[in-house]
Subunit: 333 residues, 2 copies
DNA sequence: ACCGCGCGGTACAACGTTGTACCAAGAAAC
DNA sequence: GTTTCTTGGTACAACGTTGTACCGCGCGGT
């Protein structure tokens, strides 16, 4: 069994509290006593019991990062940065995987892990504003993603602006039949934002949006991109550009385009969003909207830290992280 | 403040223990009382304090997964499966990122999180057998990766066999100048295993291994693959095949080969290990050794469960997960 | 009328830690 | 030589939960 304070105390011939003081550097302890206690601690391999500590002062040193799927490189890359940022505050990060399942997301929101975690970084998938309004759990939370309602601190890129920038890039290339893969007007907030950015960019440029060129996909992964391209190429008048809601869709699309003998970017140009590592090395490399992931991670963790430092009740704050367009072979040849 | 058992008890006019019984379904509680208590629980939004529970019976319901970097798709995909498998046991997974830094790995090994976690799944990077021998922490641990010493349960594919299979595939294609990127005889256990598998396959086929064709890389990521190819193509007699120690290296290599105008697989064939999602959709798609990740994740979590169920002292067990070669365009053109 | 028993429930201690309050002994101040 | 202060340390309670032991009540059997 693991040694406890009282084991150490007994062996060192002092009170429990004195050992506690040595461990925490609190109170006053004589040099001689301190040495003795420290030796015994070493000897017994004593480690403080985090649960007891946590119980005592209501903090666990753990924050949760809830994402739809950690296997998605965007979330994985983000998680890596979140873990690094959290380290700076002495926090450990726990991963909650929601599978973008509303029920699971609701559980996370309602504090399934409360008491275990000090704070929550939440990347919502399919939850509605109502779900957030109904939240009763009081664990500090920072949202990563679209605004649903002003319920919590939020950090994100502006999906609308990102989608619009990507689409405008395609328009600037002179493309006229620009398809959209993934996003849909009737989807969740992210999906809607990306759809509207795409749509408005077309309208602003005097293009006439066509419903036939919009292929919504529930899961934004390689396979869905492949499938969407199959449908788009079957059209009597196929597109000359693809705006993909994320990079995975885009890579699936690139693959499918090649398999159909379509040249990229000559025949069809492709852009994505997320700028995952794969996009820098694929062939062709993928033009993508690159969010400042580091900034997002650090800001989010920082906001959580603020909340934990006492400003529990202040109004929700929003931070819109920057992004830029990484132009690569899939659009510039 | 969050409601506690005693808040609920006071409001329902019963004892704390009765509420506890209702929550846990223990003891005997009358139907009427149960209803009343449940209503109050709902009303107050009571949630059990995990820390207190944990303190009480010494379990936290949290296991840690320590990986070099969660941003690496192989580890991310594995993490996804581990999280899913852990769910079946009611466990939450906490991510520890070691950056393959020996000091950080040693901390994990020594139980930096002990008391917070019930068990540890550890993917070691650079630790030596001595480090494992020196472990004093008693948290149940399952190693994912190469055998260092028989100190703990272990689940992994056989790196040696995997590397050998990959290399033999290249030999079967008639390639004679097969280079290796990543692995080295002087690296950590995984690196060594992969190097030896490569080396022995060559020797067994009557090839003469050449040190010039071996390009060790510390970090197995896209960039390193690019760099390695640059060096290999500068040789007076460049290779006609590449065995890459993981898929990321391979994808970097594919990209660099294309940039140098080398045709794959005609001029140079390429294989990797890990079979990440990217490999199925890249152009060319990548031939890769595919470990059974689901099996690895489920077995590892299962072993941990066993240990927690009492068999603390039984001898370390080993499970070698299967793998198969996914032959794709990068070798079969 | 008494015993035994199942039912519904309570009281208490303990998990390991730390904050608060206190205390003994020696030193410094008058 | 009493008072006051500092130093080094202790005792106790409390955080929220749950396992163990116990208790009172009504009911059926003798």
């Amino acid at each position: 069994m693991a040694a406890t304070l009282s084991d150490v105390a007994a062996r060192a011939g002092v009170s429990i509290k004195t050992v506690s003081n040595v461990v925490n550097g609190t109170g006053r302890v004589g040099a001689e006593t301190r040495d003795r206690v420290e030796r015994v601690i070493e000897e017994l391999g004593y480690r403080p019991n985090v649960s007891a500590r946590n119980l005592r002062h209501g903090r666990s040193g753990v924050i949760a990062l809830a994402v739809p799927e950690i296997g998605n490189p965007y979330f994985a890359e983000l998680a890596e940065l979140v873990v690094k940022a959290a380290e700076g505050y002495g926090w450990t990060v726990l991963i909650d995987q929601t599978d973008a399942d509303p029920d699971r997301e609701r559980l996370v929101l309602q504090g399934i892990r409360s008491h275990l975690i000090d704070g929550l970084l939440f990347v919502p998938g399919r939850l509605s504003a109502d779900d957030f309004a109904a939240r009763t759990d009081t664990t500090p939370m920072v949202l990563l993603g679209e605004r649903l309602t002003r319920v919590a601190d939020r950090v994100a890129i502006d999906s609308y602006a990102a989608a619009r920038a990507a689409t405008e890039h395609l328009i600037d290339l002179g493309r006229t039949r620009i398809a959209a893969i993934g996003a849909t007007a009737s989807g969740d907030a992210v999906s809607r934002g990306r759809y509207e950015g795409y749509h408005d960019a077309l309208v602003a440029a005097g293009h006439r949006p066509s419903a036939r060129l919009v292929v919504p996909q529930r899961r934004w992964r390689h396979e869905s991109g492949v499938e969407a391209v199959g449908r788009l190429l079957a059209l009597s008048r196929p597109p000359d550009a693809l705006f993909c809601s994320n990079d995975l869709l885009a890579h699936g699309a690139l693959r499918a385009l090649h398999d159909h003998g379509v040249r990229v970017p000559d025949d069809i140009a492709v852009v994505g969003i997320d700028d995952i590592a794969e996009s820098r090395f694929s062939r062709p490399s993928l033009t993508s909207v690159a969010p400042d992931k580091r900034h997002i991670a650090e800001t989010a963790v920082g906001l959580l830290a603020d909340r934990l430092k006492g400003s529990f009740s202040s109004a929700p704050r929003e931070f819109i992280a920057g992004f830029h367009l990484e132009v690569r072979e899939s659009t510039e040849g």
